[in-house]
């Protein structure tokens, strides 16, 4: 791979950085747009790719994609197929109205878009309860509504733990950190060592195994849900410890070496280390 390239808005993507895969068309990720430069000869135009955000240019030669990694603190913009953690604001006859990010319009979650839900068996969610949902559609045109679902429409099953999140606690992290956590967990489910520079979950898992382990759900909208109901009396302390580890790693952008130290320090502070 060539040297890292940072682009600013209106910068052109150099041709030599584009993947040279000719078998399928080039796909543009977020932060890039295609412009055509009109030339003097009629009917002939040069296409250029320009950045619309500041970010690090990344390419994937296998999938023939090019995208821009922007600042991790940014606001989440709903994208189809993203997994998010939404909070119920209120419910109406057909929909639950959910909060995805603060100060944006409510997303809609159908009352029947849960696994095995019928008119009689649908979940009765109250205000403030949480769901782990997938973005089904973001609509067409300006100001369209975002629709969520807790079930895979093809199979009727709730794959990957979709559905109401019962118990536990939610922590806010940056959207970049949430994306990293998701990539780290999908890269190798059993060995999370140093994927995306994150060793914190593996380290926490090893240290907290004796206490009953924990369950984690990461939403692309910058929310992490932590549940350790198996931990018995120390459940609250374990939950707080995990949340603090994730938030500090995020805020200080810690190196893997420092992440291990952080876990040891926080577990000792909360008297969880054996």
């Amino acid at each position: 791979m060539s040297a890292p390239l940072v682009l600013l808005p209106s910068d052109e993507v150099p041709r030599e950085h584009l993947p040279s895969n000719k078998s399928n068309p080039l796909r543009l990720g977020p932060g890039l747009r295609l412009l055509s430069q009109p030339t003097s000869q009629a009917g002939d135009s040069n296409h250029v790719l320009t950045a619309t955000q500041a970010g690090l240019l990344t390419t994937d030669a296998k999938r023939n994609t090019v995208s821009l990694l922007s600042f991790p603190n940014r606001r989440y913009v709903p994208t189809v197929n993203d997994l998010i953690i939404a909070q119920i604001h209120h419910s109406s006859i057909d929909f639950f109205h959910c909060i995805v990010t603060p100060n944006t319009a409510h997303a809609l979650l159908g009352q029947l878009s849960f696994e095995g839900a019928t008119k009689k068996t649908r979940p009765q969610l109250k205000q403030g309860e949480l769901v782990y949902a997938r973005v089904q559609s973001v609509g067409v045109g300006a100001g369209a509504e975002v629709e969520l679902t807790c079930v895979n429409p093809a199979t009727g099953k709730a794959d990957g733990g979709l559905g109401p999140l019962v118990g536990g606690m939610v922590f806010d992290v940056s959207t970049g950190m949430a994306a990293r956590l998701i990539r780290a967990s999908s890269a190798s489910p059993d060995n999370t060592d140093a994927v995306e520079g994150l060793v914190i979950l593996g380290e926490l898992g090893r240290k907290l195994e004796s206490l009953g382990g924990f369950e984690l759900a990461v939403g692309r909208n910058g929310k992490v849900w932590v549940d350790c109901s198996n931990a018995g009396e120390s459940a609250i302390a374990v939950t707080v410890a995990i949340g603090r580890c994730l938030q500090e790693t995020d805020q200080h952008n810690l190196h893997p070496h420092d992440q291990k130290k952080l876990v040891t320090r926080i577990l000792r502070d909360l008297k969880l280390a054996s």
Partner: protein, 245 residues
């Protein structure tokens, strides 16, 4: 001369933020951007396919007045036009930029805001970049004063600005197009042309000078400064990714 300093993502709760300090004029600006957010009322009705950009300027010690409102209008005409409001998730939503004047001398009531304008523009732009708001281009601005003897001085502070004959703020896009021209005082076209050439060389670096320019000269331009600030932040945010390459 000491160059400006800036840092990105200084506030953790805003979607994007930047602090910008200009030692020559002494101004210190803290900018925060939230977007795309839902706007109250029907403020999006005029341009339903586009994003609405709202800009607020908060002076450090007093409440905002007429001067702040006028400056907000100028900033909105420049920064608002850079925002690509038709990108996904932005139409009918708002981008709210708040610029807080944290340090520096107060602009007296009725005084010109021109001395503050470049600092506000840079802080606003960097905050927008930090919030990953889609932009069509970046900009850089310069503040120049023309003294009684006809000399052009760069970045006069509020005190020095009182003694100049004319005061100019010019902003250029990263490609060198003139985006903003605000002037005050008495001047003629020849003076303005000199000011424009000088401002362009400050913003872009000595481009078409007859002297072969080196790396060091280019690094002093405002454009290069904005690029460096953004690059530094990206490199530190993605240190985990760059280490493995």
């Amino acid at each position: 001369m000491v160059g400006p300093t800036a840092s990105l993502s200084v506030l953790s709760r805003a979607d994007g933020s930047a602090s910008y300090k200009c030692p020559a004029t002494g101004y210190n600006i803290l900018g925060a951007v939230n977007g795309p957010v839902e706007l109250p009322g029907r403020r999006d009705a005029l341009k339903p396919e586009d994003a609405t950009v709202e800009i607020f300027i908060k002076p450090g010690t007093t409440t905002g007045g007429v001067g702040e409102r006028a400056t907000e209008t100028i900033l909105k005409s420049v920064l608002g036009n850079l925002v690509l409001g038709r990108e996904k998730g932005f139409p009918r939503r708002g981008v709210v930029l708040t610029l807080n004047i944290v340090g520096g001398e107060n602009v007296e009531r009725g005084d010109s805001y021109l001395t503050l304008l470049p600092a506000l523009l840079h802080a606003g732009l960097l905050a927008m970049i930090s919030a990953s708001i889609p932009l069509s281009m970046t900009l850089s601005a310069a503040l120049l004063g023309v003294t009684t003897s006809g000399d052009i001085v760069q970045n006069p502070g509020p005190a020095a600005a009182k003694s100049v004959v004319s005061l100019h703020v010019l902003a250029f896009s990263s490609k060198g197009h003139l985006l903003l021209n605000e002037s005050r005082g008495r001047f003629d076209f020849d003076t303005w042309e000199l000011v424009r050439a000088r401002a362009l060389s400050i913003c872009q670096g000595a481009h078409d000078g007859d002297v072969a320019m080196g790396e060091g000269e280019n690094a002093a331009s405002v454009n290069a400064f904005i690029r460096e600030t953004a690059e530094d932040q990206i490199y530190s945010d993605y240190a985990h990714k760059l280490d493995s390459i």
